[in-house]
């Protein structure tokens, strides 16, 4: 109907028609949001991608060098080690966070005494600033003063202090443990919210149908929670894959790059080392991984046939 008004003769009426047009008006309303996205998301991302194709250093605008940065990284064993570390870190930490988070959510969904108190406690690791908790973990993992070593020695289980962050395997396990500790609340609370959307009557119906506790979980809880699990774990994987703070405070990528993730390596090469172009290239190399994680969850898990309504 807006187009019929616009088709009447005369410039003034055409202008009036234009301002009355829904499309025109909605474009104006979308402009602020679009501007924010362009300035704060698209521009930095575009700049990062562009830098990856230059030899920019700090204090010197670079020139376009094509894929040279990527060719260099292709033959760089430290870069490949960081890719391996990132994948290992993300996979192990995400699986642990999922299993422990789901378990915690199931416990918190029961009718416990002091339920809300425990729910609040669970959120603590998430509320504490990452750097602060990383420093606490640094202390816990300290080679001299580690409370874990001390406790185990006191209990007579070990007789030597554990070299948490000095040994490659221990260091990897330690940073993963810290990441899991930090990431569980997010998973647990989100899954708990998901659990609470499952109607009680479904459990009652299944109970009358003859389901035991495991069958209730297997046939009611798990399938109905799958969409929430997909979203939660996508976010969790993205957070873990791009983790930086924890590693940077705990190990700075050491020992011998054993805990260097792509994000920390990118920072080290780009900012500390001044090779902006190379750092940007490492960061850009993360994009395919992140994108595939998103696509996997989007197409594979999120939207099930039974969730789609109507269509009679």
């Amino acid at each position: 109907m807006a187009s019929t008004t616009a088709s009447t003769k005369g410039t003034s009426s055409r202008l009036a028609g234009l301002t009355e047009s829904r499309g025109w008006l909605s474009a104006w309303f979308m402009l602020p949001a679009a501007a924010l996205l362009l300035v704060f998301l698209t521009y930095p991302l575009g700049l990062g991608v562009w830098l990856g194709f230059t030899d920019a250093r700090i204090g010197r605008p670079g020139i376009f060098i094509g894929l040279e940065n990527y060719e260099y990284l292709w033959d760089d064993s430290v870069f490949w080690l960081s890719v391996f570390n990132t994948l290992l870190y993300t996979t192990v930490a995400s699986i642990l966070k999922f299993v422990l988070g789901l378990w915690l959510a199931l416990i918190l969904n029961e009718n416990l005494p002091l339920k809300s108190f425990f729910r609040a406690i669970v959120l603590l690791p998430w509320v504490v600033p990452t750097v602060l908790s990383a420093i606490a973990f640094w202390w816990i993992f300290d080679s001299q003063f580690s409370i874990i070593s001390w406790a185990l020695i006191e209990m007579g289980i070990i007789d030597q202090r554990i070299n948490f962050l000095g040994d490659p395997t221990n260091a990897r396990a330690s940073v993963i443990a810290a990441n899991v500790w930090r990431g569980i609340p997010f998973v647990a609370i989100t899954l708990l919210a998901g659990l609470q959307t499952i109607p009680q009557s479904l459990y009652e119906a299944a109970t009358l149908d003859g389901a035991g506790r495991w069958q209730l979980f297997r046939y009611v809880t798990l399938p109905l929670l799958t969409p929430i699990i997909a979203i939660t774990m996508t976010f969790s994987v993205l957070f873990t894959f791009t983790d930086f703070q924890l590693i940077y405070v705990l190990t700075r990528g050491g020992p011998v790059n054993a805990t260097h993730l792509m994000a920390t390596l990118s920072f080290q090469r780009g900012i500390s080392g001044g090779q902006l172009g190379e750092g940007a290239a490492i960061a850009v190399a993360m994009i395919p991984f992140l994108l595939s994680a998103i696509l996997f969850s989007y197409f594979g898990l999120q939207r099930r046939k039974w969730q789609q309504g109507g269509g009679d």
């Binding site: 009557s201 009652e204 119906a205 299944a206 009358l208 099930r304 039974w306 109507g310 269509g311 009679d312």
Partner: protein, 354 residues
């Protein structure tokens, strides 16, 4: 199929007692409705039969076996929930097959039983749909199908029609009744809708505030309510209830507010001067010159009937239904009377029938 005996059952949630000693005998194959206003404990009682709520006192026996300590899945009962409680991630066929699948029944048996239930309920074309793709009535039918497939001892229905629109409710009402006539499975049906209770049940249990007010066949309750609560609850429009005293020299009579006097059946046991409540059903009132005066407030013609809402001189509301057509005007005063045999009298203090 089995009988259900509820013997002096109590239920408390913490310090609050919900059921105060309920006893109901349900014969094998009977269709019983538990009816009462919200909060009367009828759903709680049903859930106790199902085993979803514990029993605080008394006994419930299904088929002669006391089930107080028997797990829900061992009781061999099927329940239809108010919100249907269909598994949203399963198709209609999977929903109906779920209980058999948990029992590890052979695939062929599952298919025949689901197929038969689907045929009874007209669900065959919908078997591969998901609950979300169904209308309210279809979902209701799937919920019943899930119950039928199991061939249980007892069907429990918890207000199954309250989420449906009025027209569908009437249709499903007939469908459930027909299903019961066909399967003859003992059925306990909870509703707050007395029309549903009246039309479907072999036996009605009227509950109020955690006690049983009266148990009986639908028309027994309608014709001979034991007390004021049943009198006012059963029947739509509700029975007219007028407050007054028993009086009269010679022939007993009722004297209400505003100076109205209505003759009572001879030999009534109401003591002279006792406060009583007089009950007359709207359809039992007729125009009569010797009757009590009522000023017409609203006239509601429905086509088959003419319903008037009026006031007595004492300001009490009176509803009357006429099968024949009259040309009344609002504000007009008419005189109404009832057949003596159709008058109910209750003790005003205890609410009991006199």
């Amino acid at each position: 199929m089995a009988s259900v005996e509820i013997r002096d059952v109590y239920k408390s949630f913490g310090a609050t007692e919900i059921l105060h000693g309920v006893g109901i005998d349900i014969v094998d194959g009977e269709f019983v409705t538990l009816v009462g206003p919200s909060g009367c404990g009828k759903s709680t009682l049903l859930r106790m039969i199902a085993g979803l709520e514990s029993i605080s006192g008394g006994e419930i026996a299904i088929g002669g076996r006391v089930v107080n300590r028997v797990a829900p899945k061992e009781r061999d009962i099927a329940m239809v929930f108010q919100n249907y409680a269909l598994y949203p991630h399963m198709t209609v066929a999977e929903n109906m097959a779920f209980s058999l699948k948990l029992k590890n029944a052979p695939k062929a048996e599952i298919d025949t039983r689901v197929g038969r239930a689907a045929e009874i309920l007209g669900l065959v074309p919908l078997l591969s749909r998901y609950p979300r793709q169904l209308s309210g009535g279809q979902r209701q039918r799937v919920a019943m199908g899930r119950a039928i497939v199991r061939d249980p001892q007892v069907f429990l229905f918890d207000e199954p029609l309250s989420n449906l629109d009025a027209k569908l409710r009437v249709a499903m009402r007939a469908e459930i009744k027909e299903l019961h006539q066909r399967l003859k499975t003992t059925t306990v049906y909870v509703t707050h809708d007395q029309i549903e209770a009246m039309t479907m049940a072999d036996k009605i249990v009227v509950m109020h505030d955690g006690i049983v007010e009266q148990i009986g066949k639908p028309l027994e309750l309608y014709d001979n309510p034991d007390n004021l609560f049943v009198a006012s609850f059963i029947g739509s429009p509700a029975m007219n209830l007028l407050k007054g005293v028993a009086a009269g020299n010679g022939a007993p009579a009722f004297e209400g507010s505003g100076g109205i006097s209505i003759p009572l059946p001879p030999g009534t046991s109401a003591a002279r001067g006792a406060s009583v409540v007089l009950g007359i059903r709207p359809e039992h009132l007729r125009l009569a010159d010797e009757g009590f005066p009522v000023e017409i407030v609203v006239i509601e013609p429905t086509g088959s009937e003419l319903q008037i809402i009026g006031r007595t001189p004492g300001g009490e509301e009176v509803v009357a239904n006429f099968r024949e057509r009259h040309s009344f005007e609002p504000g007009q005063t008419i005189r109404l009377a009832a057949d003596l045999r159709l008058i109910h009298l209750f003790n005003a203090e205890t609410g009991k029938r006199i």
